[in-house]
Amino acid sequence: MRYDDPWYDALASGWGESAGVGAPEPVPVPAVAAQRRTGAGERIAAADVYLEVQRSAAFQEVRSRYRRFVVPGFAAFFAWYVGYVVTATTAPGLMARPVAGAVNVAMVAGLGQFLTTFLLAWAYARHARLRRDRAALELRWDTQELTRGIRGGRS
């Protein structure tokens, strides 16, 4: 295998993945660690750990960043796709309007779907890499640290 450490995935950075010039710095979010209980002998159930993490400001921030991108993004491409399909069926006249040579509106709209798909995929990956990944990784470590004692060391 090419790497033994599952955390190491710098390999094969797909297109749109390289940290280009002018990319904003990853934005730090407050860590759960700040809210962690410190009582040494305190036994918390795993369920409580997840509830605690879920309520933490750090997690809420990661979740809202995810949703703030995904919800409008999904709405946009889904509306554009359904609009395309519905227009294709209900308004063939509009779709037949020539643009250049044999290429008509229908062809441009179809290729436009390809283009927007590529663009949105790239934007999503960039957003996730810059705005979510680091915070999510820290939360993962914190959560696993908290559950370690409870689950018999399984992290």
């Binding site: 295998m1 090419r2 790497y3 599952p6 955390w7 995935d9 390999l11 094969a12 797909g14 297109w15 749109g16 993945e17 795993a46 369920a47 997840y50 509830l51 993490v53 879920q54 990661v62 979740r63 995810y66 995904v70 993004g73 999904f74 889904f78 796709y81 359904v82 395309y84 399909v85 294709a88 069926t89 209900t90 063939p92 779709m95 037949a96 250049a100 040579g101 044999a102 290429v103 008509n104 229908a106 062809m107 179809g110 779907q113 390809f114 798909t117 590529f118 949105l120 995929a121 990956a125 996730a128 990944d133 999510a136 990784l137 939360l139 993962r140 959560t143 696993q144 559950t147 992290s155």
Partner: protein, 530 residues
């Protein structure tokens, strides 16, 4: 077809079979038969490898043979498939890939069962996964059948049947012996072969038209006999409102179905992290997008160079447009170039079918063993190893797929895949999205969501013109057609979502706050992911 075609194509195909069997033997040496190994290939594939494997899993015979055939016969209406197939990957990327990787272990049911009372949810979700997989398998089997009947000169029913049986036997061997690791490498090899073949043909088509895409479209439109109507939606799905609604229904099924396909979901478990799953999808989107752009060229190229009459004459559903195009591009049926190119394309199509069926068989055997067997076996019975059950299940699924594949041989492959997508979107997607994103979702909601999508979608297909009541039906002699649309998606997908909501609001069960917290935290951070 002449003997040369056959010999060369069979030789190339045998070479591919030999290579894949070698891969299977090679990767399965010195492996413990652990579930981790069998279902997920040890989870250590790189994003690029997995991206190629996803592309190999997804670019099926339906796309290569079916969609190009539809474009060659109906022009623009075939293009809708291509757009839907690609846009669907945004749903996967945004809502499914990373979260499923983080929450699940081997199957779709893992993600859902984590929050719910396990047994009923697993049985429901396992059943729907197997159903979707079998439908998808049938499409691939039909593709194999029509390919071989073209190769061996048309009407030989026996040759067709033996091909379907042979493909079925091979897929069972790959899966039972090699598990996910062999399947993945076969997908990768196949993806590279298919992409190379497609690039070569696309270049040849464009060279034929001196790089003038405009000229290609004009020639295709002229040759089709439909003129400009060939380049505008409506040739297949125009006319009455039933056909138009069918088009919308298909579009909806395509875009929402991918995220519910079990063999696609299980691919995310073969990489170590959610981030790697995301990168796999990015690779896949790039490869699949490029491939579909080229199939558009090939489809219009087949219309312009081969002509729709010749395509229809060879296979009424258009499944053989690309091999015919290759024959012509190579210099015609009497030339060496034509023979070679035809044989290569036929062998690539075979490879495509083999790789895809292996992927689907693996995913469905995982559903049978990991979800159904694990939930249904008697508590006191001596537990067989889950992997052993999965290996046997692969053989069982092979038999079912062979039988159905022989039955459905005259339907268009892309259209059959459309049905599988509709069932996946109705039965698997609602429950998956609800359990990932809805705090109040309950066990009853999950079970209802699965059956509420699965049963209507299958019933509507049964009552549709696909099965009876029209000359092109599976059973043209009888008429129990009560539902006008060929694709049930428009009705059954909303029904799946509705049933899940209804089941949840009517259930007395109090949703487990902590379990939801666990799913949410795990899905977004990867904590506790295996």
């Amino acid at each position: 077809m002449t003997g040369n075609h056959q010999t060369l194509a069979l030789l190339l195909f045998s070479a591919f079979v030999a290579v894949t069997l070698a891969i299977t033997t090679w990767v399965s040496r010195n492996r413990r038969g652990s579930a981790e190994e069998f279902y997920a290939g040890g989870r250590l594939f790189s994003p690029m490898e997995n991206g190629f494997a996803i592309a190999g899993d997804y670019m099926s015979a339906a796309s290569f043979l079916g969609v190009t055939g539809l474009i060659a016969l109906f022009g623009y209406d075939g293009l809708l498939y291509v757009v839907g197939f690609l846009v669907a990957w945004l749903v996967v990327l945004f809502l499914v890939a990373e979260l499923v990787r983080n929450c699940g272990r081997f199957t779709l049911a893992d993600v859902i069962a984590a929050r719910m009372s396990e047994r009923p949810v697993r049985i429901a979700s396992g059943t729907s996964s197997v159903t979707v997989s079998v439908l998808y398998l049938v499409a691939q089997m039909v593709g194999a059948g029509s390919l071989v009947s073209l190769l061996l000169g048309g009407t030989s029913v026996a040759a067709r049947a033996w091909t379907v049986i042979g493909v079925g036997a091979l897929m069972v061997i790959y899966v039972s012996l090699g598990g996910m690791r062999a399947t993945t490498w076969i997908q990768i090899v196949k993806a590279v072969l298919l992409l190379s073949g497609t690039v070569a043909l696309t270049v040849l088509v464009l060279v034929r038209f001196h790089g003038d895409f405009d000229q290609l479209l004009l020639t295709a439109a002229e040759r089709s006999g439909h003129g400009n109507a060939f380049l505008v939606p409506g040739l297949k799905y125009g006319g009455d409102w039933t056909a138009r609604l069918d088009f919308i229904s298909l579009g909806l099924a395509l875009v929402l179905g991918t995220a519910g396909l079990p063999h696609i979901l299980s691919r995310f478990y073969t990489v170590p992290t959610a981030k790697a799953a995301r990168r796999s999808v990015l690779w896949a989107i790039g490869l699949i997008g490029g491939f579909y752009l080229m199939t558009i060229v090939l489809g219009f190229g087949a219309a312009a160079i081969v002509g729709p009459e010749a395509v229809r004459g060879s296979n009424a559903a258009g499944n053989t447009a690309v091999p015919l195009l290759a024959l012509d591009l190579g210099g015609g049926s009497d030339s060496t170039g034509g023979t070679v190119l035809f044989a290569i394309v036929a062998a690539i199509a075979f490879a495509t079918i083999l790789a895809v069926v292996a992927g689907i068989t693996l995913a469905s055997s995982a559903s049978v063993a990991h979800d159904l067997y694990a939930s249904l076996r008697h508590k006191h019975a001596k537990p067989h190893s889950e992997v052993a059950v999965a290996r046997i299940a692969a053989a069982g699924i092979g038999v079912v797929a062979i039988a159905l594949g022989l039955l459905a041989r005259d339907l268009n492959v892309a259209f059959l895949v459309g049905l599988a997508f509709a069932v996946a979107a109705s039965a698997n997607l609602p429950v998956l999205l609800y359990s990932l994103f809805w705090r109040g979702f309950t066990t009853r909601g999950a079970v209802w969501a699965v059956y509420g999508g699965l049963v209507p979608s299958l019933l509507l297909v049964l009552l549709s013109p696909v099965v009876s009541g029209s000359p092109e039906s599976l059973f043209p002699g009888v008429d129990f057609q009560y539902f006008p649309l060929e694709n049930p998606g428009l009705v059954s997908i909303p029904l799946g979502f509705l049933a899940g909501w209804l089941g949840t609001v009517t259930s007395a069960e109090v949703p487990d706050e902590a379990k939801h917290a666990e799913t949410e935290v795990r899905s977004l951070t990867g904590a506790g992911a295996v």
